[in-house]
């Protein structure tokens, strides 16, 4: 659904920006893992594509608010970063396949790299509400790029932090710390969000431990509603056939082992409808 939301508060979170927007319709329908798309540049903008943003927090005050977290990457997100309280934003959402939750209480490790950590907090709340044990592994290039360390420490059983420059926590990447966290917590499942390369490595670790892993991908999108076909990644379906699926509509949450991370950015030769006709006879 489309909501013209009023910005309630804006804040800097280290290297990132967070906007709280009054959007009751979106807050009401939200499930952890959902995202929203935002029009940028105002009414007569020259920027025609929407920006897909992850939701960090949903609250019930003012009828329902969502907090969006993003980093400035170009003119669109720079415009968003300039929004002030009482400005309005054109939001559409919530979209996508949310994180599936375990039926019974389980031990879950939540892995976030950069601002990908943002989507893990509503997920952690939902898991805790189901009696799950939650442990965080959060990382980034440097201390100011690790998102949500304080909040993670507050709600999780344990929080492991990593930075590539060693300015906070362990020196290295989240996947360097992940195996020992999985072993120590006797984890039943892993949830992850972050850059594609991190998700690939997290999935590899989880598969080594033979536990399920759910990843939320951050793919560039033009529409967010499933019509533009620009956010596709190769994913193996239940029938074993690889398809180019939309990160916005079939995702953004996928079972990690189903995503062909090595082939992201290409059309695998055996994908359904690949040029040359690897699987042309199927379907």
């Amino acid at each position: 659904m489309q909501v013209t939301g009023t910005v309630l508060t804006t804040r800097r979170v280290d290297a990132y920006h967070a906007l709280t927007v009054v959007a009751p319709g979106i807050a009401e329908r939200y499930r952890p893992g959902h995202f929203v798309s935002v029009a940028v540049g105002g009414a007569h903008t020259s920027m025609v594509t929407r920006r897909a943003l992850s939701i960090h927090d949903v609250k019930s005050d003012y009828g329902g608010t969502v907090e969006l977290v993003f980093t400035v990457r170009g003119p669109g997100t720079a415009w968003l970063a300039e929004r002030r309280a009482r400005d309005t934003l054109d939001l559409v959402g919530p979209f996508g396949r949310p994180f599936p939750l375990p039926r019974d209480p389980a031990h879950c490790v939540l892995v976030g790299a950069e601002y990908g950590s943002a989507v893990l907090f509503p997920l952690a709340d939902a898991l805790l509400a189901r009696g799950c044990r939650v442990d965080f592994v959060l990382g980034g290039a440097s201390a100011d790029r690790v998102f949500g360390a304080m909040r993670a420490r507050r709600i999780a059983e344990t929080t492991t932090l990593t930075t590539e420059d060693g300015s906070l926590g362990l020196r290295g990447r989240v996947t360097d710390a992940l195996p020992s966290v999985i072993a120590d917590t006797r984890a039943d499942a892993v949830y992850a969000c972050g850059p594609m390369e991190t998700l690939r490595a997290v999935t590899a670790v989880a598969m080594e431990f033979d536990i399920p892993v759910q990843v939320a991908v951050e793919e560039a999108m033009a529409c967010g509603i499933g019509v533009c076909m620009t956010c596709v990644i190769p994913v193996i379906g239940d029938d074993g056939v690889t398809r180019m699926v939309r990160a916005c509509a079939e995702g953004p949450v996928f079972r990690g082992e189903r995503v062909r991370f090595e082939d992201v950015g290409t059309i695998p030769f055996d994908a359904l409808g690949a040029p040359g006709g690897g699987a042309r006879h199927v379907g």
Binding site: M1, V48, V92, C223
Partner: protein, 325 residues
């Protein structure tokens, strides 16, 4: 007083002139979560191909000033799955559907037409001629009148007589009027224009082309003037041929420009990426504009910009005659 927004695509009546542009509404279901698709003049599907197509590698999209480049590569499920799942879904709901088809050879277009000829729910067939011709070193059909005409003649001879065949033309040709004329002579009942002109962007950070496919189709408000020019030229040369004007329409005013240039229907594409409700908003804005200018029927505005300077619009003349005692 409401404006009569009905329009005719050849003999097929549409409730209003706003359609989705091919490839911008996917299978239709995605937009149905936002509004009732019956409120569209017609829904145009993505271009359907014989075999399933995985499309081009990513990145497929790059934002450009007042527009975007895309190189999706006609990703789609193929005609089998389309006839099994997507078309019946639209047909059962009675949504007016313009099916777009794309192929690499005349035979492929013909086979697609054959498969669609007896399928219920095809309001019109749009032939996407901006596909590389495998038999002619990958030159797109729309670039050459004779190649385009060959496709249209074949498709027209196969489709049922009561389903209009629409030829979709590309703007990056030397003479769009010549291609338009060739298509009409080959039997096209209507023309739609414009498909995306080719463009390119380079990422100055990676020092590489922004799109994996290097070049892509440019869409969005940046191409509106190109669309207005093409519709104008073709309407001037072939005033009797119904035209669907497509290209960068974001507002009712943009749609009005295309109508005044000679289009009787207007396709909305990139605007849908920005605003899922764009079609409804544009239809409303267009109706308001027509009413404000004293039009009682959309049909009276079609091609009106072509009248010689100084002559009063006919729809206003009629009004004065009626009001005089």
């Amino acid at each position: 007083m409401s404006v009569d927004m009905r329009t005719f695509l050849a003999h097929v009546e549409l409730g209003n002139p706003i359609t989705t542009a091919a490839g911008c509404a996917s299978s239709g279901r995605e937009l149905a979560q936002f509004f009732d698709l019956h409120r569209l003049g017609a829904l145009t599907t993505r271009s359907i191909t014989m075999a399933p197509r995985a499309g081009r590698p990513t990145p497929r999209m790059a934002e450009t000033p007042s527009g975007m480049l895309n190189a999706v590569g006609l990703q789609g499920p193929g005609i089998e799955a389309f006839l099994e799942r997507e078309l019946p879904w639209l047909a059962q709901r009675g949504i007016k559907t313009i099916v777009s088809i794309g192929g690499g050879t005349v035979a492929e277009y013909s086979e697609l037409a054959r498969r669609l000829a007896d399928a219920p729910g095809v309001t019109a067939l749009e032939v996407n001629l901006s596909c590389p011709n495998i038999e002619d070193r990958g030159r797109v059909f729309a670039r050459e009148g004779s190649a385009a005409a060959e496709v249209i003649a074949s498709v027209r001879s196969i489709m049922r007589y009561d389903v209009p065949v629409v030829a979709k033309l590309a703007p990056d040709v030397a003479d769009i009027v010549a291609v338009a004329r060739a298509c009409v002579d080959a039997g096209a009942d209507a023309l739609s224009m414009i498909n995306n002109p080719l463009g390119m962007a380079i990422d100055t950070r990676t020092l590489r082309p922004s799109l994996a496919a290097v070049t892509g189709g440019l869409s969005g408000p940046a191409i509106l003037p190109l669309a207005v020019r093409c519709v104008w030229q073709v309407h001037a040369a072939l005033p009797g041929v119904p035209l669907i004007g497509i290209g960068g329409v974001m507002t009712g005013k943009d749609a009005f420009q295309l109508i005044l240039a000679g289009a009787c229907a207007v396709g909305v594409g990139t605007a849908l990426f920005h605003d899922p409700y764009a079609c409804l908003r544009i239809e409303r804005e267009l109706e308001d504009l027509l009413r404000a200018r004293g039009f009682q029927r959309l049909a009276d505005a079609v091609g009106l910009a072509h009248r010689p300077p100084g002559s009063a619009p006919r729809h206003l003349l009629v009004d004065t005659e009626e009001s005089s005692p």
